[in-house]
């Protein structure tokens, strides 16, 4: 077959291709047939006229043949569709009220789904903008079980590297570590920026080709002395006006000189938010980071053909092989998971929950549109019956009604996409998600495709039942041109039942959603009212990092802290101030160490593996500045903080529970497991603090004076009399006085930190609340329309009842009773659903049982109350039925 023939035969599938030529050809073909046949008949002895007639008889109905052939070609289908579309448009234009309401409802439903699907798509389905994201894995190398020596615990996990580098199941293992350091390029004030130390392989792992220059690991990998840096595209534009002359420039990071080797591509952002990447092994200088970390996260790519389980098994084998002799055998500490699941992590549950919620909202919206279509049934009935009498089959009627419905949902879908587009912008701006995730939330092809599918599904779901109902009545129904009113005489009990069923379903779905939402609201309320263990009012915090040669020695750092503290405490409006390695909910600087402690027999130190506690060096004044109550013993004194002071410690209540349950801990000793130093003597007990988040349990904590652990990265905590941010500039001035070269991070109040830690639950609760509100409104609209209909249909019955002496109150009672039944059954079904599904919410709830009675009682009661209130309108209408008019109409 030649190309042209092939193209022709392919084009022939399009009904419009050469349409007129095809029609003419068919005519000619049939004419030839008729002529031949007539000739034969003539030969058999018929007159020319009779022969022609006979030929027509043997052929059959010529028009019908043409129709049939056209159907083979596919014209009819297209023609009918176009006709239905045109007709549907006219019908919709004629009832603008119905169209507006239906389109509006569907736009809300589809818009909510589109915008939320963009989150599912960006966050859950395609979270990582890297090549082969599903092959990336992360793992933590647990601390080597080896004695810790001296200050600045070295990264013992690094002993693993030679082994990991030769693992078979993974390739390009890369360590990375993030932090904030002082940055200066010789112009202006030093700045705190986000730095990532990355080990060799980083560029190969992510397949990075720098936008400018080269990646440092490409040649001199792993040499601790090479001070090269990569800068982010953002920093390049901000500080260097995107100038290519940036390359040989030198920058200062934590008082160390680095030469800029390259600028990374603008779309590369890992670890999220990083502005400068520097080579990892620089532990010897120990200046950039505090050196308190035990191990850094590792990221790698699964080797071709290797599975997650194989990689995990191999790492565990390495762990066993590298354990130092005498290590007590214990469960493996290696944790390896896919980068995707780690990044997506805790956002998965809430996102799926919200998606399910908008799905329910859309179902309710569909039911509402079904109600509206059913409501139009009577007015369409005459038309349908007429069409049916003129020969339209039921399938034809259904198709026409569905086309109209498709038009409505297409308009709804279009409008919904506009809404969704706005929603996506809002989500990107408001969702408390890491930047790497929120960037993926866009209106892309898959979101468009999803919206299209949802639109079609919506049309089918909301359109098919009413179309079937109306067409069933219409086919063979009586045409009564005299009475275009409601189809009282033709009222089908099954249609009424179907409407009731829709109403009940809507209430059930709304009740399900409302119950879940109230659970989350209740849980959020509990979370807000949880006692964090400190007093968050009037507390200012800021972070400082001591780098550079003038802070090499511990006593130099201690002097800095002492200076800042005494000057800050002297400021007007400052009540107390203290330094610590971390603040609660700050998310940084917290480390967990294994401890050995003195038990019953004095002198013997228990050493249980993994009996960890938070290790928090802090100055005097820290507890009072944060309002952490002292429960027993004494607070740190300034003497404790002097260099070379006797090692003391203050432990938290849960640490007492852990180490000396039921005993008095004062005077007992403990030390960091494996360390050789003098044990700390416990001098006091403080209350528990929610360190990780308001919903997380308070960890056991061991506080030691700064003199014992002269950290170089610390947080200043200031308790003020008035607005804490008002003293911020004075505190900044204090730092400048003590050391003009030292940069502090932005000032944050503890209130802000608390609010930040509540951002995720707040966001999902508000969003779910919005959806549940929408669901309730739509469901109530559904019940309202059921009742309005039922009143319209029963006008005659009501008239008779009233004529027989029924009181208006009884009539409205009758209507409300039915509404109460519908909402009651719906609410019970919804509660049953909530009961069955509530355990899925467990991970999102805090302090509230998934079967929380408050939510399970409040949701249906509120919903039923709103539904009944809405049905008061049709009930009043029923009350006002004039028996005379009602009866006369019949």
């Amino acid at each position: 077959m030649g190309v042209r023939r092939r193209l022709e035969s392919w084009l022939a599938w399009f009904p419009w291709y050469r349409r007129h030529a095809r029609e003419a050809e068919l005519k000619r073909e049939i004419q030839a047939h008729l002529d031949l046949e007539a000739e034969e008949q003539k030969a058999a002895g018929l007159s020319p006229d009779d022969a022609a007639h006979a030929a027509h008889r043997t052929l059959g109905n010529e028009l019908r043949i043409q129709e049939d052939v056209r159907e083979v070609w596919g014209f009819r289908w297209v023609e009918m569709l176009l006709r239905d579309l045109g007709y549907g448009l006219r019908m919709l234009r004629r009832s603008p009220g119905f169209t507006a309401v239906a389109v509006g409802i569907l736009a809300l439903g589809i818009g909510a789904n589109a915008s939320l699907f963009s989150v599912v798509n960006g966050v859950l389905l395609n979270p990582l903008p890297f090549p082969h994201p599903s092959r990336l894995v992360v793992f933590m190398l647990p601390p080597m079980r080896q004695p810790i020596s001296g200050p600045g615990y070295t990264l013992l996990g690094w002993k693993w590297l030679p082994w990991v580098n030769h693992a078979h199941a993974i390739e390009f293992p890369t360590a990375y570590q993030t932090g904030t350091v002082n940055f200066s390029d010789g112009r202006g004030l030093p700045e705190r920026i986000h730095v990532a130390e990355v080990s060799r392989n980083f560029a190969s792992l992510f397949n990075i080709s720098p936008r400018l220059g080269r990646f440092f690991n490409e040649d001199r990998a792993g040499n601790g002395d090479n001070h090269l840096a990569e800068i982010s595209c953002g920093l390049w534009r901000e500080r260097y006006a995107a100038s290519p002359a940036v390359l040989p420039k030198t920058i200062q990071l934590a008082a160390q000189p680095y030469t800029i080797a390259g600028v990374l591509p603008c779309d590369f952002d890992f670890p999220s938010g990083t502005q400068v990447w520097i080579p990892f092994p620089m532990r010897e200088s120990a200046e950039v980071f505090t050196g308190m970390e035990f191990s850094a996260p590792q990221i790698a790519r699964l080797a071709p053909g290797a599975s997650l389980a194989q990689a995990r098994a191999e790492l565990q084998a390495i762990e066993q092989a590298t354990a130092p002799p005498g290590t007590p055998p214990s469960a493996s500490l290696v944790e390896l998971e896919s980068l995707r699941s780690q990044v997506v992590g805790s956002t998965r549950g809430p996102v799926l929950l919200l998606m399910a919620a908008v799905g329910l909202v859309l179902l309710i919206a569909c039911a509402d549109v079904s109600h509206l279509l059913l409501a139009r049934g009577p007015s369409r009935f005459q038309e349908m019956a007429l069409r049916s009498a003129l020969g339209a089959t039921r399938g034809r009627l259904v198709r026409q009604l569905l086309t109209e419905c498709l038009l409505v949902s297409a308009a709804g879908g279009g409008l919904g996409l506009l809404l969704g587009w706005q929603g996506i912008a809002l989500e990107r701006a408001l969702a408390p998600l890491p930047a790497v995730l929120s960037r993926g939330i866009t209106l892309d092809a898959s979101v468009l495709g999803f919206s299209l599918a949802v639109t079609i599904a919506t049309a089918m779901l909301s359109g098919i039942p009413p179309a079937l109902a109306v067409s069933r009545l219409a086919v063979g129904g009586a045409i009564r041109l005299d009475s275009p009113g409601p189809l009282a005489g033709n009222r089908s009990p099954s249609a009424g039942r179907f409407r009731d069923l829709l109403g009940v379903t809507e209430i059930a779905l709304a009740c399900l959603l409302a119950t879940g939402t109230l659970l989350l609201v209740h849980s959020f309320w509990k979370l807000v009212h949880v006692d964090p263990g400190f007093d968050s009012a009037h507390v200012l915090t800021t972070e400082v990092a001591l780098a550079g040669p003038e802070y090499q020695k511990p006593e130099q750092r201690l002097a800095f802290y002492r200076n800042v503290l005494s000057r800050t405490r002297a400021l007007p409006g400052v009540r107390q101030a203290g330094f610590a390695s971390a603040v609660p909910l700050g998310g940084q600087g917290l480390i967990e160490l294994a401890f050995a402690w003195e038990g019953e027999s004095p002198g013997a130190l228990h050493s249980l593996e993994r009996s960890g506690a938070m290790f928090l060096p802090c100055s005097s004044g820290y507890f009072r500045a944060l309002g952490i109550p002292l429960v027993a013993g004494r607070d740190f004194r300034s003497l404790d903080n002097a260099f070379g002071a006797r090692p003391v410690a203050i432990v938290s209540r849960s640490a007492v529970q852990k180490f000396w349950p039921g005993k008095n801990p004062i005077g007992r000793r403990l030390r960091i497991a494996y360390s050789k130093g003098t044990p700390y003597e416990v001098v006091g007990v403080v209350g528990d603090v929610r360190q990780f988040g308001l919903s997380q349990k308070s960890p056991a904590a061991v506080y030691v004076p700064l003199s014992q652990e002269p950290i170089d990265d610390a947080v200043l905590v200031v308790r003020t009399a008035g607005d804490p941010l008002a003293t911020a500039s004075a505190v900044r001035e204090v730092f400048k006085q003590v050391d003009p070269g030292e940069a502090v991070s932005t000032f944050e109040t503890m209130r802000q930190l608390i609010s930040l830690s509540l951002a995720q639950p707040r966001f999902r609760t508000i969003l779910l609340g919005l959806f549940a509100g929408l669901a309730v409104v739509l469901a109530v609209l559904g019940v309202f329309s059921v009742m309005s209909h039922s009143v319209s249909e029963r006008v005659r019955e009501i008239g008779i009842r009233m004529a027989l002496g029924a009181e208006p109150r009884e009539i409205s009672g009758m209507v409300l009773q039915k509404a109460a039944w519908l909402s009651g059954i719906g609410a019970v079904l919804g509660l049953a659903g909530a009961f069955a599904l509530s355990r899925l919410l467990v991970s999102l709830l805090y302090g509230v049982s998934p079967l929380d009675p408050v939510s399970f009682i409040l949701a249906p009661v509120l919903l039923a109350a709103v539904a009944l209130a809405a049905c008061y309108v049709p009930a009043r209408r029923a009350m006002r039925v004039d028996p005379m008019t009602a009866l006369r109409n019949e």
Binding site: A32, E37, N61, I65
Partner: protein, 119 residues
């Protein structure tokens, strides 16, 4: 298509049977619609009379499926052009398949209706 003898015993032939007959007719060589109709009529001794009209939708359907191809041609010594249909290789394959299906069908119906023959 009807059994002409007795209008009471009219049966509807199964869907596709006409297609099979048309394909079988075209095995003998290209033919136009009228010839096909006449051929079926003649070979069945007028038992099966094709309602000529039903032939054309069938022919166009077969052409669309690629089982037959068509061309306007002048017959030898003729005065006017006719649209001649001929079997394509795909059509031949289809005919073989239809034929064997039909044989099996007839054989199995025969076994039910006249079990004595089985011996």
């Amino acid at each position: 298509m009807t059994l002409q003898e007795d209008s009471k015993s009219r049966i509807e032939l199964m869907q596709g049977t006409l297609d099979m007959l048309v394909l079988r007719t075209l095995v003998l060589g290209p033919a136009h619609g009228h010839e096909i109709a006449k051929h079926i009529q003649r070979t069945t001794d007028d038992v099966l009379q094709v309602e000529h009209g039903s032939l054309y939708p069938a022919l166009h359907r077969l052409e669309r499926k690629g089982w037959v191809a068509s061309k306007w041609e002048m017959p030898k010594g003729g005065k006017r052009e006719f649209k001649y249909y001929r079997l394509t290789p795909a059509g031949k394959k289809q005919l073989t398949a239809e034929h064997s299906k039909w044989r099996r069908l007839v054989a199995s119906i025969g076994r039910v209706m006249e079990p004595a023959r089985e011996g």
